[in-house]
């Protein structure tokens, strides 16, 4: 192959620069680790090609320049958490990392790549990924590991605010940890011991941010007006107003308008749940605004709306019915268990002796866990299901979206990376099958 003669880096000393990528379906989290120094935060790049209503196309971070998100259409290279369309993914990576004027420029032949992938990938897609990394980009060294496991390479007890004496050293990777990753495509539960995922117990439910946004879009289209082409706006709305209900029945009662002719107090006053959302009009406002519910009745709202020509949606049970899908996917006919049951299903294949440790160290990451009350609800539901003696602690890192990246950046400085990474020479010598086997075998048990 032509590539083998061209590559000049490699050899015994590993590359000093590491590009750490958490290549999510919605956003890429990217940053560098140089020697012992890592970027403080990754750059967050939208992982999509987008086109607005004037047919202008945006690639990756160019989306920041876009102001009007009306009727935005997206093409995403990542489907279900896995890189499927390499044509688009290569274009985005090229523009972000490899071009002359790329914002995070690096030379792949002198760089190590650490790529986070979702667990339980299809082998064909994994092989595609390895081939692209070595044969197209020509990275000097590479490791592809499952994203949830990288989270163990952080100071987990700091997330829990576990009281500690100052002299206690932190374990990296964490000794035992149950990681819940709720992202754009799906939600996974991964038990991790010493940084090794317990593969037999990884479970997935196909509810993610995308499904919830689409569900919100559908509800609004039925009840208010057609938003089906306004995914971006619906997503902003979801992030702004949705919350996880602690008492679903009570909240649903409060937002019911009642039978014919009935005037329910909670409904008229909003019951503390109803909120007004001002939609962007693409002239003066480009992002929606949440407002307190105006209980003055339809007439006062109509008067105000006529004066200001703004579109206002009143959101009631949409606010909590949408995140409820995480806990009850059967509400839309999806025959999968809710999040708490998912955790229990995962635990059920593990020896009971591990349960206390796992349940006391549950970390949630991913974009969806930013919803209000997510942690409290999960903890409440789990407490109902586990034995009385078990302590259930659920915590979320300060920024759950970049947590996997931070863990991977720590991993890049850990001695484990030398044991796992594969160099370009090795790839050329042993082939993609060997690389795939090495990655799936993982660390093994020792240390």
């Amino acid at each position: 192959m032509a590539g083998s003669r061209k590559s000049r880096a490699a050899g015994p000393p590993p590359p000093s620069v590491t590009l750490v990528l958490d290549n999510g379906a919605d956003t890429i989290k990217a940053g560098f680790v140089t020697g012992d120094k890592a970027d403080d935060r990754p750059r967050i790049i939208p992982n999509c090609l987008a086109r607005d209503r004037h047919k202008k196309a945006y690639v990756g971070s160019e989306l920041e320049k876009c102001r009007d998100f009306g009727e935005m259409a997206f093409r995403r290279p990542v489907e279900k958490g896995f890189i499927v369309n390499w044509e688009a993914q290569r274009e985005i990576w090229d523009r972000e990392f490899f071009d002359d004027k790329a914002p995070q420029r690096c030379d792949p032949s002198e760089t190590r790549l650490i790529l986070a992938e979702q667990p339980n990938a299809l082998p064909a897609l994994q092989t595609h990924c390895d081939q692209m990394v070595f044969e197209e980009f020509g990275f000097a060294s590479y490791y592809r590991g499952i994203g949830p496991a990288f989270n163990a390479y952080q100071d987990i007890q700091a997330i829990f605010h576990t009281p500690r004496t100052p002299d206690t050293s932190t374990d990296i990777p964490a000794e035992i940890l149950l990681l819940i990753d709720s992202g754009y495509s799906h939600t996974t539960v991964t038990p991790i011991v010493h940084g090794r995922p317990l593969h037999q117990a990884i479970r997935r439910v196909d509810v993610g941010g995308k499904l919830m946004t689409n569900y919100l879009t559908r509800l609004l289209s039925v009840r208010h007006f057609d938003m089906r082409n306004e995914t971006y706006i619906a997503n902003e709305m979801k992030e702004a107003v949705c919350y996880v209900s602690m008492d679903f029945n009570r909240d649903l009662e409060k937002t019911w308008k009642g039978t014919r002719g009935e005037r329910r107090e909670d409904y008229l006053s909003g019951g503390g749940i109803a909120k007004d959302y001002v939609l962007p009009d693409s002239h003066t406002i480009f992002h929606g605004v949440v407002r307190e519910y105006d209980p003055g009745g339809a007439s006062s709202r109509a008067r105000r709306a006529a004066a200001s020509t703004e579109d206002v949606l009143t959101l009631r049970n949409e606010r909590f019915v949408v995140p409820e899908l995480l806990f009850n996917p059967s509400d839309i006919g999806l025959r999968q268990p809710g999040l708490a049951d998912l955790v229990m299903q995962s635990l059920s294949v593990l020896p009971i002796g591990l349960w206390p440790g796992l349940l006391a160290n549950i970390v949630v990451v991913g974009g969806n866990v930013r919803l209000d009350n997510f942690i409290q609800r999960l903890q409440m539901e789990l407490l109902k299901r586990v034995p009385d003696e078990c302590v259930v602690r659920v915590a979320r890192p300060e920024d759950p979206v970049i947590s996997t990246w931070l863990g991977a950046a720590n991993f890049a400085r850990h001695e484990h990376v030398e044991r796992l990474a594969v160099t370009k020479q090795e790839y050329e010598e042993f082939g993609a099958g060997w690389v795939a086997r090495k990655f799936s075998a993982g660390l093994g048990v020792d240390s």
């Binding site: 964490a174 593969h199 006391a360 075998a441």
Partner: protein, 349 residues
Amino acid sequence: MNNFGVIEIASTTTKTTPGWAYVPDTGPTLPAVAQPSNRKRAARNQPALSLSDLSAREETRLRKELEALDRDNHRDVNIPIPPRPGGGSRAQNKHTPNVRKILQSQKTFANHLDDYIAMLALAESNPVAAAAMNAAQPKPSTPTASASKSASPAPSASAAGASKRSAAAAKRAAAKEKQEQEKKKARQTPKLEREPEAEPQQQQPPPHQQDDDVEMADTAATPVQPAAASSNQEQEPNPQTYPRESQILPPYAKPPPRPHPGDDDPLLVSAIPPFPSDDELRALMTAPPLSYLEARATWAEEESRYPVRVFCAVCGYWGRVKCMKCGTRVCALDCLETHREECLTRYGL
């Protein structure tokens, strides 16, 4: 208004009407297990029949709705890659054959999943052919079966093949496996030193085996810990019961909490599950990954589940009444009327 349901309509357009549908007659109604992604081989992949009372029509509607919820855009869009303004720096001229194949592939995830299922099915029904197919692709790109001999659950069937070819393949696989085992062993041996244990001890109750004289610190006796309301889980490691030799998850090494007079009270002793042995843990930690389909969680058995909640299709409150025509749930009269309009435009009178 009711002409015994007979109404003449001067129209040639056909609509999907409720009431009937063509379905293969396979006995009791099947639950759509591989619901969202894959309906191609759905009938074959059913693990078990259930007494789900959903009719085929509702089944189809559900599947369509879920598929709609799973899309990135409402409409089909085709966004070509825009030309780059400055021109890239990376040499774009030559791709290797593998790369060219990958870049030109227009497969979606569903296609890949179908391929994978087909491969599994082939490996199951005809290991010889599967082995041959894998052997026929000597490039490093042969992705699945040969690559993941140890990783994917299917190809183990190849050992059963009687033909020379598959036997040879099995032998090769065994040799590979052995090599790997040795490699692993070599990796395991030198590293026995451990970093000092520190962190989860507060909360992680060092599990003992069932033993009557487990010590138990009273909550009040331990310092108050806000995050760890759990301190009553702290227990003194019991040298006889804890697997001392455990290298993977070593026992609690810190000084035990202060003894408490109630420690010996048999009423306060809690049953503690046996801790997994090192071998068990090792097996868990080195187990191969599950496949995409195996990792997908499914419903537990019928009895252990709550019944599915139904909601009003219009306002989202509980669905208390059914529309007599189409079976959609609504909450009360107001919503029923709103629904009737839609029902009429959709299905006629």
